[in-house]
Amino acid sequence: MRDKRKAGVLERFSRALDLPADVVAGLPRMNIIGGNEILIENHKGILLYNDTDIHVSGGNVVLKLHGDGMSVTAMNATELLISGRLLGIDFVYV
């Protein structure tokens, strides 16, 4: 609860001072190249993984990616590279 409040404060603080929110507040950043490659930085882990759906936690938001032939090409503590034919993204705020 306290972390969520802290994250919200940092987010508002970064917006107020026009600072990059992904650096200051640790918000997830997503780069989509074409419709085939997605790079997610500052992720908090994979919640669901199969050929058609990959759910990634971004802290206070869950990114639900669905498509065909989805797979995680590379992953480390902060970055996640997903490849496949992306059909849609849903954002679920927690």
Partner: protein
């Protein structure tokens, strides 16, 4: 590119089995274990690639009851080298080969001479050898600039020389001196003399006083146009004589050819033998019986192939193939027609060379057979410029 890096660093392919395999990979990621090529098996199985140390660390997570991890295969260069770690002789051979190639590339194994026309390649190589440059010379043992200067002193006919060393290959480029024509400057007085003997057909004097007329026969060196002009007003004055003098000139040459000659009749038998030249030392790969003397004549053709790696890295190994073709000496008589044609051709070439672009008006040939030889006499008449400028002495 990442695949190349992962190959050199080495990696493993593992299979994760867990109730929630996503949780397993999240824990791996949070513990700085990089993962790639994540493939889903069934609902409880994932296959991932990771580095070796990541695998060791991931194995500790299985003790927490998160899941099971199984090694599928090892990949990469470290795994490849591990398989051969007991093969000491193989490793030593590879190292020895690399060392030998590195060491051999520091020496010159091939020298090529280009640009020479009158000076033979053997003369240039001989002089270079005396200066310490030859097959097997250490590349750093000489300075090309010093060699250039010394070679120009040793062979005065050379105008310019450059030695370029690339790898084990040395390229020697030369330029020979050309005889400079004697040119009298236009502001200096001069005469015009005859370069060759001939009969004057045209003379056009632009400056100076003509000493000959059309139709007059002149000898080589005879004065044609004088640069000294006698004037009643200023006396004798000197000028730079200029004139176009055209004359008929004659050339006579003779060629002989024996009527009977000895030729070669090939029997069809030939033998091939090989040898190796290693760093200048020849090793024959054949053995000829010294007591056995050949009955027939033998013609030898030698072919040399230098072993190279790429364009400029020459190895000190030359493969020599000698082909010995057997022939039988046969006496035969040269026909009149063949001798006549050959001698006319040879005399024609000589005339073209010595007349230097003169217009050939006529060329008569007479071929006779006399005392066992064919004799061909040629008389040619040409039209050419015979004016030559010389300074007034």
């Amino acid at each position: 590119m990442l695949n190349i890096i992962n190959y050199f660093r080495g990696s493993v392919r593992v299979e994760l089995t867990s109730e929630f395999p996503e949780r397993f990979i999240n824990i791996c990621a949070q513990n700085n274990i990089a993962l790639w090529e994540i493939e889903r098996g069934d609902n409880h199985t994932l296959r991932v690639s990771m580095r070796g140390e990541g695998f060791r660390k991931a194995q500790t997570f299985t003790h927490r009851g998160i899941g099971q991890i199984r090694l599928v295969r090892r990949m990469g260069l470290p795994n490849f080298l591990l398989r051969y770690k007991k093969r000491y002789a193989l490793m030593a051979s590879v190292l020895l080969m690399v060392a030998a190639l590195t060491a051999l590339s520091m020496f010159i194994w091939e020298i090529d001479v280009s640009g020479n026309e009158n000076i033979s390649k053997e003369v240039i190589l001989q002089e270079l050898n005396e200066l310490g440059i030859g097959i097997g010379t250490y590349r750093k043992s000489f300075k090309p600039k010093d060699i250039q200067n010394q070679m120009l002193i040793k062979i005065p006919e050379l105008e310019w020389l450059a030695v370029n060393v690339t790898g084990s290959y040395a390229s020697v480029e030369v330029r020979e001196k050309e005889p400079k024509p004697i040119i009298v400057p236009e502001n200096e007085p001069c005469n015009i003399v005859s370069e060759k003997a001939g009969l004057i057909v045209a003379i056009n004097t632009l400056e100076g006083s003509a000493s000959v007329k059309v139709g007059e026969a002149v000898e080589a060196g005879q004065l044609l146009v004088s640069g000294l002009i006698n004037s009643n007003v200023v006396g004798v004055r000197q000028v730079h004589a200029m004139a176009e003098v055209t004359a008929r000139t004659w050339y006579e040459y003779t060629s002989v050819l024996p009527v009977n000659a000895t030729g070669k009749k090939y029997t069809g038998r030939e033998r091939t033998r090989n040898a190796i030249i290693l760093a200048g030392f020849r090793i024959n790969l054949f053995w000829d019986n010294p007591k056995k003397t050949p009955v027939m004549g033998t013609e030898k053709t030698v072919k040399r192939s230098t072993l190279k790696l790429g364009e400029r890295f020459t190895l000190p190994l030359v493969w020599v193939t000698e082909t010995l073709t057997e022939y039988e000496p046969v006496d035969f008589t040269v026909s009149y027609g063949s001798a006549d044609a050959f001698m006319k051709y040879a005399l024609g070439l000589r005339l073209d060379d010595e007349s230097q672009g003169a217009e050939i008006l006529s060329a008569d040939f007479a071929t006779l057979e006399q005392n066992g030889v064919y004799r061909c006499d040629m008389a040619a008449e040409c039209l050419e410029s015979i004016a030559k400028t010389v300074g007034i002495q």
